[in-house]
């Protein structure tokens, strides 16, 4: 069963705009990860945030984690057409264990 639920399911924006995706989960976690998938191929790891962290940055990506609300958000700033992809959050209940994925957010960035 899916632990995570992502919102929105689809998002369409113009190049240069910011994109925000949200993820909610049900049980306590060790860490939460975000992945990108282009055209149904392999997943690319974007960022990992541990349960004792509240915010993390990587380039144009900003991830927040609220363990009290069991939710996370991924912000992509100044989006580019190349950011068009599906984005998945995945929870890891114990470090290095199985990942439980949400259903993903399909992001479309129009030039």
């Amino acid at each position: 069963s899916q632990q995570g639920e992502e919102d929105p399911q689809a998002l369409s924006i113009q190049e240069g705009e910011n994109a925000t995706m949200n993820c909610s989960y049900k049980t306590s976690i060790n860490n939460l990860q975000w992945y990108r998938q282009n055209s149904g191929r392999g997943l690319v790891h974007l960022i990992l945030i541990r349960s004792n962290e509240r915010e993390k940055h990587s380039g144009r990506l900003r991830v927040t984690l609220d363990t009290s609300k069991k939710s996370s958000s991924l912000l992509i700033t100044a989006s580019r057409a190349a950011d068009t992809a599906s984005y998945f959050c995945a929870t890891d209940l114990w470090q290095g264990g199985k990942l439980i994925f949400g259903q993903g957010t399909e992001l479309s960035v129009k030039p």
């Binding site: 069963s1 992945y35 149904g40 997943l43 790891h45 470090q95 290095g96 990942l99 259903q103």
Partner: protein, 113 residues
Amino acid sequence: DAGVTQSPTHLIKTRGQQVTLRCSPKSGHDTVSWYQQALGQGPQFIFQYYEEEERQRGNFPDRFSGHQFPNYSSELNVNALLLGDSALYLCASSPGHSYYGYTFGSGTRLTVV
């Protein structure tokens, strides 16, 4: 530095047949996990191998089995294929230490007809 390598890329099988998918982890990684991703869905965990043993298993029937070799490469075997087994099968690897997430391969697209 090669990442995770999966073979074959695409595969078409007939219902009832058996299939073997292969995965070579990223250099320096000793843990291999397998995921099944149906169209339009998030990946679902099948199992994880470490030190040639199945360490964790998801909610998949015994028709799904695996193996890890001494060089850390891995195989996923599926017996008695069903139409519902059609999916993208993803392999992911990670090091046993310094865990920063998984490296995924490009997947094997299995179609059962």
